[in-house]
Amino acid sequence: MEPAAVAELPRADELAPPPQGTDLVEWYFAKGFSDGFPVVPPTPAKVAAMLAALGGEPELLECRVPPRWGGLTREVLAINLVLAGCLPDYAPVVRAALLALCDTAFNLNGVQATTHMAAPLLVVNGPVRKIIGMNAGCNVFGSGNRANATIGRAIRLILLNVGGGWPGDLDKSTLGHPGKYTYCIAENEEESPLAPYHVEHGYAAEQSTVFLLAAEPPHSVTNHVANDPEGILDSICSAMSTIANNNAVSSGHCAVVLGPEHARTIAKAGWKRQDIRAYLWMYSGNRFRDLAFDHRYGKIYNRNLPVWYKREPDSRIPIVPSPDHIHLFVAGGNAGRFSAFIPGWGHMTSPVLRAIDGSVGPDGAFCVDGTCAV
């Protein structure tokens, strides 16, 4: 149901334009419209260029961003894109990411407000990565690339400015994590021996997609020894099998990012995506007694885990309910035998994958790596 009345509008004194010559970077800081870093002050020309990249129609409402439920019109989106330092070419990616985040399945309301540290991780697939110059290689989670940095930053600015997820106010995260500034990567499809993630999920390689997961930071997995899939994947299983990550106690979805060297070693043995995900699921997990602290703080059932899990002391409790809950990517630099495990927030959220242009994947069965799905 559409809201019936306007309950909150910006106050006139907040919007009073400052005298010519005002330091606008400081003005935006003073108004609280920043993530803590200096913003790029929007100008009419910059906002117009961004709007044009979004298809015009400044008053068109794209979505409402919780928990404040501010209206993300194209003009508001354009303003935040400029503030973040984006180029107009990035605008469709950010728009698609916000539509994914505001999908009911993602439960952005909860993600924004939780005491957990989760931040939306964006992974981009398809030709758009190259077109806009995203980094999928060295230091992929780190600094140094404008597209990765400012796309992620634009998302965060919108979650703050429009969604109202200000720390201590509507964002109650106890610790947060650095991905709450920017958390955006591209899959390294060129160096990957596996099918791209979006192709595994039914899109054509020529389509470009965004994948959003409410996620903890990446946990490094080092293995400079193994020359077979099992050895590498056992190291990832070890990183997954703690009782402290949120998947361990709250189920849900997680991500695994294989470094290209690890991916090549695994693929050389003929393993495909589904083999990798199945192995990771099968050989990670915890014993229920460990999750229940041997019941020394009282009898524990854990309502956040699926009802069908056995809860005997030595029952194996998977990190996530099935191999399909492990989202597998290949990213990072060519050299280095590292991968990463990225826990999710839990069953309270579902990741969302969507095409940047809003199109759907091919109808009916699709086949990847010799396996077909309907």
Binding site: P17, R68, E75, N107
Partner: protein, 101 residues
Amino acid sequence: MAKTTTGGVEAVYDPRGRVDAAAAAIAPRARQLKGLRLAVLDNTKWNANKLLRQSLKRLDEEIGFAAVNYYRKESFSKVAAPELVGEIAANNDLLLTAIGD
């Protein structure tokens, strides 16, 4: 959202977007509790049921409700389903809930 540059001022923009919402009235406060029907909404947080059942026991001993109905949300992180809210509203006079993290 934009402000113009006319009159010797800088162009600035409001990045927040408008909030459209309808005001809703709060239910009137109950004048007395004895003999009313109490709903307890467990949000399924770690310790919510423990906190709520203890609170409920003591409240019921002290007050004496006509009925106590216990409900659970599907997820602590999501709003209660409209059907559940409707059922609670239709069959109860009071609601007790807590986070219990």
